[in-house]
């Protein structure tokens, strides 16, 4: 089981969290201006990288907050967790790079 460091509550067992998919996929401000192609991409296309992945979690059975994490999908090692609305931490490798 993963131990995940909630930015508010600290390290907690995975059971208390709900995974929320890829992070930084912002909902378009005015979806009506998007082409079908772009809207379809927003809805469904995901990076799904092998290596570092910016993703969302919610501490649903804890403080209830959504937050973001950088996790290496080849090791499940968490490189960082950070608050929703804040940018990906500076100096971290790109998607698909390895974390260590």
């Amino acid at each position: 089981m993963l131990i995940i460091a909630c930015p508010y509550c600290g390290p907690r067992p995975e059971l208390e969290f709900r995974y929320g998919g890829e992070a930084h996929v912002a909902r378009p401000v005015d979806p009506s201006t998007l082409s079908d192609e772009d809207w379809g991409a927003f809805l469904y296309q995901r990076a799904n990288p092998r290596g570092l992945h910016a993703e969302r979690w919610r501490h649903v059975h804890g403080c209830g907050r959504f937050f973001n994490a950088l996790r290496d999908t080849t090791t499940d090692f968490f490189a960082a967790t950070y608050e929703t609305g804040t940018p990906r931490p500076a100096g971290t490798p790109a998607d698909g790079e390895t974390s260590r």
Partner: protein, 189 residues
């Protein structure tokens, strides 16, 4: 027409009545209390503290209390506030006045949940039968509180004493939580 406002049917009366005693791990149902879920922006948080009589705790997963009033930090803008039923009406009125115009949310959730206490030297061990947290005093000291899981039910767990925990659980999950704790307690009764 009869006034039924004092007639309450608790969720797990039969289980409580049938529960065996144990000095190693006692399980008790706590009397009803008033509960408010409070959410809000910083200005409202300050104003609410004034009504409450003490500041809402800002440290994650800690509760503050004064007399019979308690405020539990549940999230960065979320507190569960408990107080005696007899103070509820006056408190709600004062809070509404103090919070007027300040972005916030105050919701009465008094009967959404009920409270249990697990106490005695084996209390942490009993709770750990269903709860994945480290309940050693270093990791979960007196004064700590948090939402977490007990088996397949969500609870709010607080440590009020070295050997005493309180569990706040939604009404319909109380039966499950009580039975699970009884199952864990069997070897100590």
């Amino acid at each position: 027409m009869a006034d039924l406002s004092t007639m309450r049917t608790p969720a797990i009366e039969a289980l409580v009545t049938a529960s065996p005693a144990s000095h190693l791990a006692a399980l008790t149902a706590l009397p009803p209390r008033t509960r408010f879920s409070f959410r809000g922006r910083p200005a409202a948080v300050t104003a609410f503290g004034t009504v409450l009589g003490f500041d809402l705790p800002q440290v994650a997963c800690r509760f503050a209390e004064d007399g019979a009033r308690r405020a539990l930090w549940l999230g960065p803008d979320e507190w569960l506030v408990t107080l005696p039923d007899r103070e509820a009406t006056a408190f709600a009125g004062a809070a509404a006045t103090a919070l007027a115009g300040l972005p916030s949310s105050l919701v009465d959730v008094s009967q959404r949940s009920l409270a249990l206490a697990v106490s005695g030297p084996m209390a942490a061990r009993i709770i750990n039968a269903g709860c994945p947290l480290d309940l050693s005093p270093d990791a979960f000291p007196v004064g700590m509180c948090t939402r977490t899981l007990l088996g397949k039910a969500e609870i709010v767990l607080s440590r009020t004493d070295e050997a005493r925990f309180e569990i706040d659980v939604w009404r319909s999950f109380a039966d499950y939580v009580w039975r699970l704790l009884e199952e864990a307690r069997r070897e100590f009764v």
